[in-house]
């Protein structure tokens, strides 16, 4: 997934060894998710006077979540490369991979629910809604599950660092929620009257879990001082804006293609939807309802936005690419001022540059 945002990031920023390590960690955790002993001893606790029903594990959880779990995110690898750049690449800190990967996997599933055409109807079928709700709640468990690593302090971290990890997990979930809130409202209204500044900030919020989140977790565990961390966060906000806009440009140019039946599709829509071009050109998307519909389906809005943005390719010069590169230049400058993560920044920009400036 991160390869969609930053082409070549898995080799150009992270490494093959990082990818292997993430696979190893995730495979081990996948086995633990199916293990009642692990769950009782470390995660959900003993039922004392009552009883858990572990029949739920295969049919009520893993069968539903596996299609999303199986596809790599790239976020964990990126995180490991950040740890290395910060001089904090020790095995204890690798548990951060779980928090980051599981949070994004939960987002994938939540997006399946949030953007479901079936639920955009006046009267969703009860059984269909029920199955989607059941799927959505696997996300609830996935998102919270890895917090046991903080409770058990698998990181060997000081108390204040553990507090920051808890806080960061909550904050990034809230930020992603905010991004989906704005996106839904704008989609339902066909992108009418969306302020460009609000769109820019939403681009930053949308990419939070891909870029900002791994760097913040890495900085917490690397004990980066607050003033420097703040500068880095600001720099990464600019990076998120630049990356999002370049992603939109690549979609318009036909360089991104995710199959609509892929478990990734729903969660790629927020990052690829070419809203900047629409807003810049003062265009809107038709939100006429389908028979029995209550809202214009988000998938249809995405397709129409893509098609409209492509139709605009021949029209007066868009500021999309220029603004993207200005944001990336701000990222580079701000990271230099922060004095950390220089190597990461250079590699990221090199990957982005491969597509041509």
């Amino acid at each position: 997934m991160l390869n969609i945002l930053i082409p070549g990031v898995d080799e150009g920023v992270a490494s093959a060894a990082d990818g292997l390590r993430v696979r190893e960690l995730m495979q081990r955790e996948r086995e633990r998710l199916a293990d009642p002993v692990h769950l009782v001893e470390h995660v959900i606790g003993s039922p004392a006077e009552f009883a858990w029903d572990f029949d739920v594990l295969q049919d009520g959880f893993l069968r539903l979540a596996d299609p999303y779990l199986e596809l790599p995110t790239g976020i964990g690898s990126f995180y490991l490369s950040l740890l290395r750049d910060l001089g904090a690449d020790v095995p204890e800190n690798h548990h951060g991979v779980l928090i980051l990967e599981f949070m994004h996997l939960a987002t994938r599933i939540n997006d399946r629910f949030n953007f479901a055409d079936e639920l955009a109807r006046q009267q969703p079928d009860l059984r269909v809604a029920e199955s989607l709700v059941q799927l959505r709640y696997t996300a609830q468990f996935l998102n919270n599950y890895p917090r046991y690593t903080i409770i058990e302090n698998r990181y060997g971290a000081a108390e204040d660092a553990r507090i920051r990890l808890h806080r960061w997990g909550n904050n990034v979930f809230t930020t992603v929620g905010m991004s989906r809130a704005a996106l839904l409202r704008w989609c339902h209204r066909g992108f009418a009257d969306v302020p460009l500044d609000a769109y820019r900030q939403n681009a930053i919020n949308t990419l939070c879990e891909y870029l900002m989140s791994p760097v913040c977790v890495a900085m917490i565990l690397a004990r980066v001082e607050d003033a420097v961390a703040r500068q880095v966060r600001r720099a990464f906000s600019w990076l998120e804006l630049g990356v999002k806009l370049l992603c939109e440009q690549r979609l318009i140019d036909g360089d991104i293609d995710v199959a609509e039946d892929s478990p990734l599709f729903d969660t790629t829509m927020p990052v690829t939807l070419p809203g900047y071009r629409l807003i810049e050109a003062g265009r809107q998307v038709d939100v006429t309802l389908e028979p029995g519909g209550r809202f214009a389906p988000v998938k249809r809005v995405w397709r129409d936005a893509r098609d409209e943005a492509r139709r605009l390719r021949g029209s007066p010069t868009s500021g999309l690419a220029d603004e993207a590169w200005r944001a990336i230049d701000r990222f580079t400058a701000d990271i230099a001022a922060a004095g950390v993560l220089q190597d990461t920044a250079a590699r990221v920009v090199a990957c982005l540059n491969r597509g041509g400036r």
Binding site: V56, Q134, Q140, E159, H166, W168, G177, A198, M212
Partner: protein, 372 residues
């Protein structure tokens, strides 16, 4: 005004005198806390507070407020019983704190509750909540989900930001407790949904009670009791007692609620009666009857639940079978048993007798006496 007064009187119906006096005294504090803690309109300062981000650009505050904040405010305006913040206030004062010094804590607990029940409503495909349309009915499933998830998450900023300025060990203990409760909540919810989706008719009473505790304890009532105990500096030996008390109160409270759903006794009961039958939910009453029913009655119950019917006549038939097999008496006896278990835990707490008395009344009311 008359309607609001009626609603309050309904909440107070059957409430024991000591609890009633405490409860009424706290309502204004809770409402003020909600207004302070959870704004109606988002701005940059609030956004930064709940996300830890310093935005680079001005945002669409109409969109964010309308989607993230408004649905929870709609629920808050049709105020529920507010038992959870009352319990928090009671715990704070029992351990020597003045609840007036913690308005945002009382507000936060109620915001957590009201943002989370939006999810309960779309899980159950309910139509009404507290006499008004549920969020997914009013706003659609997608907005209800995004709103509920985001508002629930941000409502914990009192803990994530250590807004109450507790010591580092206490601040961490609170966050660890919140994390644990949320993990359990996720697992318990998966169990419930799995049983419904699989039309599973072999759920034991022990599994049902554990699932109920896991799914609900984060706010009913173990979570709030533990948080309040930690915040108030309760003796360390009282914390596990408060947790156990919370579990017992929850079981009694929930079992009482199952009974009320099956045979609502209050005209102001905001949800449509027999919703559990419509959603195919394997509740305590249903599990009890399935264990005892003969083949024909069992088949009728299973067929009705599996059909997800809203047909009132069919739902009444299930209710009649619940009565036939002693389901209501079983649930009533179970609620009373857990009420007594709660009383036993209350006796262990290192608090004054006047507070023990109110705790006992809370237990009696929530598990046995309440009408809604």
């Amino acid at each position: 005004m008359a309607g609001m007064e009626n609603k309050l009187q309904n909440k107070l119906a059957n409430m024991p005198a000591g609890l009633r006096q405490f409860y009424v005294a706290k309502l204004a504090e809770i409402k003020a806390g909600i207004e302070t803690y959870f704004p109606r309109r988002m701005d940059g300062e609030f956004f930064a507070r709940v996300t830890g981000h310093e935005p680079l650009f001005e945002q669409d505050w109409d969109a964010l407020s309308g989607v993230v904040l408004t649905p929870t405010h709609e629920y808050l305006e049709c105020a529920g019983k507010m038992l959870r913040p009352v319990l928090v206030a009671l715990t704070l004062e029992a351990y020597g704190e003045d609840s007036k010094a913690f308005p945002i804590l009382l507000g936060a607990i109620e915001v957590m509750e009201d943002s989370s029940i939006m999810m309960d409503d779309y899980i159950d495909h309910s139509l009404l909540r507290r006499g008004g349309p549920c969020a997914h009915v009013r706003h659609g499933y997608a907005i209800a989900n995004v709103s509920s998830c985001t508002a629930f998450s941000l409502s914990h900023y009192i803990f994530t930001n250590n807004e109450l300025a507790r010591s580092t060990p206490i601040a961490l203990a609170l966050l660890d407790a919140v994390a644990y409760e949320h993990i359990q909540m996720g697992f318990g919810q998966m169990e419930e949904l799995y049983w419904t989706a699989a039309d599973k008719n072999t759920v034991t009473i022990q599994q049902y009670l554990q699932e109920t505790i896991a799914r609900c304890a984060f706010l009913s009532f173990r979570g709030p009791l533990r948080y309040a105990g930690l915040i108030a500096g309760a003796p360390s030996e009282d914390i596990p007692v408060l947790e156990k008390l919370g579990d017992y109160l929850l079981v009694g409270y929930h079992v009482r609620g199952d009974n009320l759903d099956m045979s609502p006794e209050s005209a102001d009961w905001g949800k449509i009666a027999g919703e559990d039958i419509t959603t195919g939910r394997r509740t305590l009453l249903i599990n009890h009857v399935l264990e005892r029913a003969d083949a024909a009655d069992r088949a009728l119950i299973e067929t009705t639940l599996n059909s997800r019917t809203r047909d009132e006549a069919r739902k009444v038939r299930v209710y009649e079978l619940v009565v036939k097999y002693g389901g209501l008496e079983f649930a009533r006896d179970l609620a009373e048993r857990y009420n007594q278990l709660a009383h036993r835990e209350i006796d262990k707490l290192h608090i004054g007798p006047e507070f023990k008395a109110i705790f006992r009344e809370f237990s009696d009311f929530s598990t046995v006496k309440r009408r809604m």
